[in-house]
């Protein structure tokens, strides 16, 4: 029998992997964006799990909103990456350290 705990543990694992993805990754920003998508996915899964087990459809509505916002976010993110590439001719994270004090 698959319980709620199974689902939650699964999404926690997914979340941790995607977090590790964010800071293991040193190659390009695209992978970062993908890791963020993955994170959102795990969160969404949680929403759906709770919605399912507490029998409340609101959770799914929120997933809907999150999907919409995530789509917008990735669209803008990609646009930024493109313009970044045009300026710097690279999207390697290693080379982006303008934040350095």
């Amino acid at each position: 029998m698959i319980t709620m705990t199974h689902y939650l543990v699964f999404s926690a694992l997914l979340f941790c992997i995607s977090i590790a993805g964010i800071f293991i990754n040193r190659k390009n920003i695209l992978l970062l964006l993908m890791s963020i998508e993955l994170m959102l996915l795990s969160v969404n899964t949680n929403f759906i799990v709770f919605s399912h087990f507490s029998n409340d459809i609101s959770g799914q509505v929120f997933v809907f909103f999150i999907l919409a916002v995530a789509a917008a976010e990735s669209a803008i993110g990609l646009a930024i990456i493109v313009s970044l590439y045009r300026i710097r001719n690279s999207i390697e994270i290693n080379l982006i350290n303008k934040l350095k004090g």
């Binding site: 979340f15 993805g21 390009n28 993955l38 087990f53 799914q60 997933v63």
Partner: protein, 194 residues
């Protein structure tokens, strides 16, 4: 062991393994394709949780639109495949941290003792899509409109970011440099113009 259980373990293990490989692969195209795989499997998982509408949306919108966009960008930029250059010690640390985080989350989940199936009521005669639609257009109509607006803003922003005519590149243009002369570099103004 019923079929649902088998399916669950199958789907989750595919998701976990492909997400791990997504994190560590070097080729971005592979990563994008792995993401497609993950999303498909997630859609199955969501179907198992009786969220038919969202699982379809995930496949249609996400895989069909967003990930295709990703692939477009990857192809457009034509990024060379490079090896991950993280130092070993740093890798060790980050993996350990993530693992500890997982352990902590696991403990939280375990200690919380989520009641299993306590609230599951046999779903009503209304189907999932109808229910979500009802909620969206009654209770959450305002948020829904805002979401629409956000999407609009995102579209405009994405265009605006890449549309500016000004050459913002930091790359040097040797031709232009050669054409510069003294007159165009130096402008003499009177003191009181300041």
């Amino acid at each position: 062991m019923d079929i649902i259980t088998i399916l669950f373990y199958l789907v989750t293990s595919v998701i976990i393994f492909s997400s791990i490989s997504l994190v560590i692969v070097n080729n971005t195209v592979h990563a994008a394709l792995l993401l497609v795989l993950i999303f498909f499997n997630s859609a199955i998982l969501w179907l198992m949780l009786k969220a038919e509408f969202l699982s379809i949306v995930l496949v249609l919108v996400y895989v069909g639109a967003v990930l295709v966009l990703f692939l477009f960008v990857i192809m457009l930029l034509d990024i060379p495949v490079k090896k991950n250059s993280s130092p070993k010690l740093y890798l060790l640390f980050s993996v350990t941290t993530s693992l500890i985080m997982f352990a902590e989350l696991y403990m939280i989940i375990l200690f919380h003792n989520f009641s299993d199936e306590a609230n599951i009521v046999v779903s009503s005669e209304l189907n999932n899509t109808y229910e979500i639609g009802l909620m969206l257009f009654t209770e959450y109509v305002f948020s829904f409109e805002i979401t629409a607006f956000i999407l609009l803003v995102a579209i405009i922003a994405a265009i605006a970011i890449n549309m500016s005519k000004k050459q913002r590149s930091l790359r040097q243009d040797p031709g232009k440099q050669i054409l510069e002369n003294k007159k165009s570099r130096l402008k003499i103004i009177k003191g009181d113009e300041l």
